[in-house]
């Protein structure tokens, strides 16, 4: 990696305090994203990807908290910044889009006002100026008739339009990093493609890096240059997105790739039954010893049940955490 990373996560551990004891909801999480890069974080529900994102933007709430590790933004550690300094960063330099556009917007506030808040908060604009900028921001996310739409309430907009408003809010102050947590999961498939395209184009134009979080490996690989796969609170594989499809190294990634519906050869041969990964992600409080994937892994041996695997560099580039990787 030639240029200094925009954001760097090192050995991050996120604690879950259930009153009696602290357990690690995520641990040993390390990755870096360069300026303008697109990076994906993939995994099943409950694997720790969303809380990792919340940790980056400083929005972990009790019972969750950062246990240890370092988060560097533009070379500076940000995990212990004062609340006020974190707020300056939040929204201004690091912005976030959430999954559910219906509930993520305030139902009793016009969407224009919810965008305008960003300019008032971070750019010191008056409400009048901020409202004008909000109209421009709506036009940027291709909302038709923006001067009329600014006065609409969220319930008057479709799901796709609401997510466009969310994007307008997130990109309002020209952040360096956009965290998109399952941005299209709640939307219709046809709208999904539009929203992803819009988000990708706007970020490319402005040089905004994207951290995209999804359970959909296909979608993430499509948008992102590099992908990290998370399982039970750990990153198990990190690769270029083309490589991860061609020859996934970790059995879990293998499973994810096999479970994707694909048109083409397999379908043509009539072998279009989708494979699934047997079992479910273990609960945070009962992660298995050794490799956390071992109970669901076909290749698991004795060592997998006793010893957690180290992260290995792959010759072809990338990282994997498995005793038996190819």
């Amino acid at each position: 990696m030639t240029e200094a990373p925009l954001i760097e996560v090192e050995d991050l551990r996120i604690d879950l305090d259930d009153g009696a004891k602290r357990v690690a909801a995520a641990e040993g999480v390390s990755f870096r994203i360069s300026r303008g890069e697109t990076f994906g974080l993939v995994g099943e529900s409950g694997c720790g990807k969303s809380i990792t994102a919340l940790a980056l933007i400083g929005l972990l709430r009790p019972p969750l908290s950062i246990g240890s590790g370092v988060i560097r933004f533009e070379g500076k550690e940000i995990q212990h910044l004062s609340a006020a300094k974190q707020r300056d960063l939040r929204g201004n330099s690091i912005a976030m889009i959430f999954q559910e556009p219906m509930t993520a917007l305030n139902p009793v506030s016009p969407v224009g006002r919810q965008i305008a808040e960003m300019f008032v908060l971070h750019k010191g604009k008056s409400w009048r100026e901020a409202n004008k900028l909000a109209i421009e921001a709506l036009a940027d996310v291709r909302v038709p008739a923006p001067e009329r739409r600014v006065n609409d309430y969220p319930h008057q907009l479709s799901g796709g339009m609401r997510q466009r408003v969310m994007i307008a809010i997130a990109l309002a102050c020209g952040p360096d990093l956009l965290i998109a947590d399952e941005p299209t999961t709640a939307l219709d498939v046809t709208v999904q493609a539009e929203i992803i395209e819009l988000m990708r184009n706007l970020c490319a134009e402005r040089g905004t890096a994207i951290l995209m979080i999804s359970h959909d490996l296909g979608l993430v690989a499509n948008v992102c240059r590099r992908v990290a796969v998370m399982y039970a609170g750990r990153i198990v594989e990190e690769r270029g997105s083309a490589d991860i499809f061609r020859n996934p190294s970790h059995p879990y990634t293998q499973g994810l790739v096999d479970s994707l519906p694909r048109l083409g050869s397999r379908a043509a041969l009539g072998r279009n039954r989708l494979k699934e990964i047997a079992g479910v992600v273990p609960a945070i409080t009962s992660f298995p010893d050794g490799c956390r994937f071992n109970p669901r892994c076909a290749q698991a041996t004795e060592i997998c049940r006793t010893t957690a695997p180290k992260t290995d560099m792959l010759e072809a580039g990338g990282l994997v955490r498995c005793h038996h990787h190819a």
Partner: protein, 309 residues
């Protein structure tokens, strides 16, 4: 104009309610023993009693009296008091202002104290302020009004001599304060509790997380995003409490010799002054319906998702 048709429909809906209330009071008073005549004297001459009953129209059967009353009511005539021979409308008009003063001052006290208390408590749940506020709230809900009134009287009028102990005086705040606080304590407590619960719930909403992700301080989050959402619930509580206040005003007015509709009602009931009782209850019911209609209209102003159809 969906709003106008909504208002008209709601106003028409009040008619059956009013009729039902009038009928209920009528039936109750024909069932309970005693009459204006027996309440005036224990051993009245039967002939005098008969003549009085004839004069007041009390010897008619209930349904006839009810029919006559409704017919007069339709023209805005509430009848004449058995006791004072005054038109009931005049009696109520004289008493309405003190009651309005009392109820609105109590509500203002309840809102101005209860709502901020609920907000402050919700911002640090489990903290000292929260525990203290909820202690006040639970106490406020459990205290009997007449007892609280007596304690306040004893303390502020008798011991400290800061405020007059009872009466209307010139109707100034000095006279209003003790009865209004006595009446306002339980709605204040309830508002504190509901506000706290509402704010706590709203603070977990997704849009609050969005607001935080924008980089605003908790104070701003509350001011810009939580407050308005909490208002719907606060307003609902207020509407219900207005009804309760009008009921409890009877006790407080009597206790503080406050010349309002509540004490008029008590005196009229004791003396079986049926037209005055009818009129007072009717006015209270109408006021309650009007306040709730106003609150329904305010819902739409606060929450754009509420439509009048």
């Amino acid at each position: 104009m969906p709003m106008l048709s909504f208002l008209i429909r709601r106003l028409l809906q009040t008619i059956p309610t009013v009729l039902a209330v009038v009928l209920l009071v009528f039936v109750l008073f024909s069932v309970v023993p005693g009459s204006i005549v027996s309440s005036m004297s224990d051993d009245a001459d039967p002939q005098v009693e008969l003549r009085m009953k004839q004069q007041l129209g009390l010897d008619d059967p209930v349904h006839v009296r009810f029919g006559k009353y409704i017919a007069k009511l339709a023209t805005g005539d509430f009848g004449t008091s058995f006791r004072t021979r005054e038109p009931v409308t005049t009696m109520i008009a004289k008493r309405a202002w003190p009651t309005l003063q009392l109820i609105f001052t109590s509500m203002a006290f309840a809102v101005l104290l209860g709502v901020p208390l609920g907000f402050v408590a919700a911002l640090r749940p489990g903290g000292f302020v929260d525990s203290a506020a909820m202690f006040v709230a639970v106490s406020g809900l459990s205290i009997a009004k007449f007892w609280l009134g007596l304690v306040l009287m004893y303390l502020f009028a008798l011991k400290l001599g800061w405020l007059p102990s009872f009466g209307y005086g010139d109707g100034s705040l000095k006279y209003l304060l003790l009865p209004a606080v006595t009446l306002g304590v339980s709605p204040m407590a309830l508002l504190a509790r509901t506000t706290r619960a509402a704010v706590l719930e709203i603070m977990t909403a997704d849009f609050v997380r969005t607001a935080r992700s924008k980089g605003m301080s908790e104070i701003r989050v509350v001011k810009w995003h939580v407050m308005r959402n909490a208002l719907v619930i606060i307003l609902t509580t207020m509407g219900l409490q207005f009804g309760a206040l009008m009921g409890q005003a009877v006790v407080v007015e009597k206790l503080f010799s406050w010349p309002g509709i509540g004490s008029l009602l008590v005196d009229s009931v004791l003396q079986r002054d049926v037209p005055a009782v009818q009129g007072s209850i009717l006015v209270v019911v109408l006021a309650f319906l009007a306040i709730n209609l106003l609150i329904d209209v305010l819902y739409g102003v606060i929450d754009p998702r509420i439509r009048y159809a």
